[in-house]
């Protein structure tokens, strides 16, 4: 449908943007082999020593473990709370529904530092000491929103007639949910959960204010950056995370982007 020149121009644009997006990531990979612990261009030399030192570094392991635990817990909570909120908003029409919608956008719409300092003030005001649980609370707050948005968007696109038809055929509420609704929204739930986990895993601003003496991976990275002694270790860890997540990301892409919503053709 598009003219040849338009198509070519678009392809060039896409290619350039891909270069733009991935150059820093390529640099991260390359500098994991840096012989010097100060990052400067061009790279002075290549070495494999940082891989073993990262593997043996107890700080890396404990912060990675903490990030995983916090992320999984926050995602689980978010899936529960976010999905139920999406269902409720979709089905009900009540006074203040707009306000509730706005409320659920706030954690993502307000800058992270505000969420961070308010939660910190809240915890210290109520004498709650900082721990894994305060980190989880901080992360869950925006993870709920991500899941909520994904599930609600999918619910809005689901045809209500399917549910009506099922009920006409005699299915009770639970059966409708299990056999009709759940399969239809499952990909949205999974995609929302993955995005929530990704946001939690890489979160640094809110976590700075809600973590005590514990380090999640981003906090460890920030400490390593400020110290400047073991920068290539940061690159090793980040490269490792990128490689490990390629498969899940491709799966998520298929679920929400590529295969999830078919391009609407002309004529129903």
């Amino acid at each position: 449908m598009e003219g040849r020149w338009t198509k070519l121009a678009l392809q060039a644009w896409v290619a350039l943007l891909l270069v733009f997006l991935f150059t820093p990531i390529l640099l991260i990979f390359i500098y994991a082999f840096n012989t010097s612990n100060i990052e400067s261009w061009p790279i002075p030399g290549l070495t494999l020593k940082w891989f073993s030192s990262t593997w043996n570094d107890p700080d890396v392991r404990s912060s990675l473990e903490l990030s995983l635990r916090a992320g999984l817990t926050a995602t689980a909570l978010a899936l529960l709370l976010g999905s139920s909120a999406a269902f409720a908003i979709h089905r009900l029409t009540f006074f203040g529904r707009e306000v509730v919608s706005l409320l659920f956008v706030l954690p993502l719409a307000l800058p992270g530092i505000i969420t961070g300092i308010s939660l910190n003030a809240f915890f210290s005001f109520n004498g709650i000491s900082l721990s894994l649980w305060t980190i989880v609370i901080g992360h869950t707050t925006f993870c709920i929103v991500v899941v909520y948005n994904n599930v609600l968007a999918r619910l809005r696109r689901t045809q209500g007639s399917l549910i009506e038809a099922a009920m006409d055929l005699g299915a009770n509420g639970f059966q409708v949910f299990r056999d009709i609704t759940l399969p239809l929204i499952s990909t949205a739930v999974v995609a929302g959960g993955m995005l929530a986990f990704a946001l939690s895993f890489d979160e640094v601003i809110v976590t700075t204010f809600t973590a005590g003496a514990q380090n999640t991976l981003p906090l460890w990275i920030f400490g390593a950056i400020r110290l400047g002694q073991r920068l290539p270790e940061v690159n090793v860890v980040v490269s490792f995370v990128i490689l490990v997540t390629i498969i899940p990301v491709v799966i998520a892409a298929r679920l929400t982007g590529g295969g999830g919503v078919a391009r609407v053709q002309a004529g129903r």
């Binding site: 100060i38 700080d59 000491s129 005590g212 003496a213 400490g223 950056i225 400020r226 400047g228």
Partner: protein, 398 residues
Amino acid sequence: MSSPGRPSWVRLGCLLAAAVVAATACGSNTSTGGSTLQQPPTATVKPPTAVGAGEGQLNLIAWEGYVDDSWVKQFTVQTGCVVNAKYAGSSDEMVSLMKDGGGGQWDMVSASGDADLRLIYSGDVKPMNEKLIPDFTNFQTYFQAPPYNTIAGIHYGISLQWGPNMLLYSTKKFVNPPTSWSVIYDANNSGLVTVPDNPIQIADAALYLMKTQPKLGIKDPYELTKVQFDATVALLTKQRPLIKKYWALASDEISLFQNGDVVVGAAWPYQTIQLKLAGAPVDDTIPTEGATGWGDTWMLATKAPHPNCAYLWTQYVSTPKVQAEQALFFGETPVNSKACAEMEALQTGSCAQYHADKGSAYFDTIKFWKTPIAQCGDGSNNCIPYDQWVSAWTTIKG
């Protein structure tokens, strides 16, 4: 190694003690309802008389370069205390992290003189028992009970190391070492200067004006009247276009010099050592106007969750060998008089280089960090207190 001459130390000590007394007496005037007691809030907390078994973990707030694996690994092997360090780049950051007695998270903080009194008077640190530290008796006399961490005979921490803020320069740009701080105020170096992003930096500018504008009558760079303060802020505002970046993280400054973004700036000796290790053509010096500096203390948080590990750590870093290792790593001077020999063994000439053997002459040239308060040394009450330094600093940076 000869111990430093007593008179100069005592003189400085008296000045600091006067400031402390002034703070306590005057505190209630400057605050709006908050109290600054005669006695610090934790004065009555009795420190332990013996060190128990280690709890397996130690959470420290420290300057970048103060908790290096080269001596920390051995500590963990010996005591089983795993060290978890959070780095802070300024005294303000340390005070902030330590609020509410460390929040039940942090055990110790390596605070400098300008943070100590604030920590003590907000009750965030508690007294330590110096008898539990065997090397304490080997400390240079002044550092056993400096006025910034010892009040009415009670030790709110154990002294650690001390050192100056240096002028760091690129040897490519400055073939002859600069002799004056004027280079960082010189328009010829526009866009090539860096200084710490820390309000206490105002004192460095005041120190420069002490020598270059004696008519202002600045006697102490931390005690500035309104006229003196305004002149200093004016100098810093003039400097602002010359600054490439105000460094907040030690690694920032190392990057800036390594990549050629700046050629001169104010630094800790740590940055110079790291840059030289990486082969960068830099060197540092103390110009004729003198330098500001810091005297650091390991203080124990009021709500420290691992007090035994904390004491074991303090014992460990007070030993001559570790004092020497840290001094050489960071580029500072140990408080343990026995460390000089260890420093010589590790690096010949280092004892003299870091003045671990010099007496009061070197010590006197350094204007140690202390919290600016309204009470001036001469008894008058019109010096600018620190919170105005903080807001002035934000305005200077623009």
